[in-house]
Symmetry: C2
Subunit: 267 residues, 2 copies
């Protein structure tokens, strides 16, 4: 199973100005496709810290390192400099990336949205760590960047959510076929019980019996609700197998709860 | 300035089932009160990984380590075991914490919300790393936990947002007077400009001139918007000083943009 790490680069997340929804979206994608996110690290737009975070993720043997944010034209967009420093590679202008940037801005200028021309700030988005491949961004100006290093693949994506999603979904299908090929299933149920602690022993028993199924209880409002949401999730090589694992754990918990006089229905 | 780190513990965040809004709320609190969040780390409910994350934050000289999630009664709530392992301390039942848990459940049972009594699952919430102090939770069952270690303070808070906020706001005022005593100011403006890259040189100049002010530009939709949001934020020992710093940077950018024929108005 692919072990992924997400590195979110952005002072605006650390200051609390912006909620990092990118990491949640990426975590769902990785999980649904059969991978596992081992860690999400949010760090500032600082070259040394980005470099160390990349080295740490490689050292922890992550197969896939997804880095978001900091690819834009401004002075505080330092992600590619950080990745290059972390890998001990030079930064150089990439011809393919420059072609992508030129094409985007020519299109936007033709529609009257921006001034034409490759300014220094725009050219900066085509300066990549050596050995990188640019990834077409169908929404915005900054290409994504893919770097393969030892057994890991590093993918840098823009922080603007629509651009991040477009590159992930459109420009990496070959990588996902290799790294995230699995199917994913989930199922939820509602337990009619006043208190999470009454569910705990049954939750524990089913988790132990079905180690491949991730089972989580969610209390909606402490002490007030008489239902608790229980979610089951599993990955497998086929969708049918993932569904069968989830269903088996769901049925086992339902049977245990029925014996304890606790109603449990699909949600 | 207090250097804070946030450690969010939760498989449900790593799987993408839940968006971690707690870290954003805590980051805003720390920033507004004059601290700085250096890192947010999201990790699974695994004792060894929690232990290592706590040790790493202490080793990076964080003054304040805010840990969220994993304080509840279920088997996968392992945060206190992880903190204890990270600090090399034993876990012991804490009398004050047990009193808090007993009081909460007695209140809820009196209102008919839960069954009365201290079950093993409920007692678990009063088993703390040695040398901890429990923090009253006015909303839910699990006390927060404070541990002072070398020059750092570790605060463990529940993952349920309302409980996390209640403990932070109500049960730690003495700590904030010491660690987060400063005032915070922010101000925003809208630049009438088609493209972030045209703003970049002016942004860079003002950032260099006002290193104590954090200035961020936000593009709403690439290539489509004719306005870019610029936010300025600063902390200082008094609210007036923080505001003066923000205002000076705001005025400097407005003047530079006026000279470049770019309108800039308060937002």
């Amino acid at each position: 199973m692919t072990q992924a790490e997400i590195i979110a680069v952005g002072n605006e997340v650390l200051s609390g100005d912006v909620v990092d929804t990118n990491s949640n979206w990426l975590a769902r994608q990785v999980t649904r496709r059969g991978g596992r996110v081992a860690r999400i690290t949010t760090i500032p737009d600082t070259v040394d810290i980005i470099a160390q975070a990349v080295r740490d993720a490689v050292a922890r043997r992550a197969d896939l390192i997804l880095v978001t944010g900091g690819l834009g034209p401004t002075a505080d967009d330092l992600t590619l400099a950080g990745i290059a420093a972390g890998l001990g590679r030079n930064l150089t202008e990439d011809a393919a990336a420059l072609g992508m940037v030129a094409r985007r801005y020519a299109e936007l200028a033709a529609r009257g949205y921006v001034q034409p021309g490759l300014t220094d700030a725009r050219r900066k988005m085509a300066v990549l760590p050596q050995g990188s491949r640019p990834l077409w961004n169908s929404i915005g100006g900054a290409p994504g960047v893919r770097v393969d290093v030892e057994d890991a693949t590093i993918v840098a994506l823009p922080g603007v959510p629509e651009e991040m999603k477009a590159i992930f979904l459109e420009s990496l299908t070959d990588l996902w076929a290799e790294r995230l090929p699995l199917a994913y299933a989930e199922r939820a149920g509602l337990a009619q019980v006043q208190d999470d602690s009454l569910l705990a022993p049954h939750h524990r028993a089913v988790s132990a019996a079905f180690p491949n199924v991730y089972i989580k209880t969610r209390v909606q409002a402490f002490g007030m609700a008489d239902t608790i949401l229980v979610t089951f999730a599993a990955s497998a090589s086929t969708a049918a197998e993932a569904q069968a694992r989830v269903d088996a754990a769901f049925d086992a918990l339902r049977d245990l709860l029925a014996a304890a006089d606790i109603a449990f229905v699909g949600a």
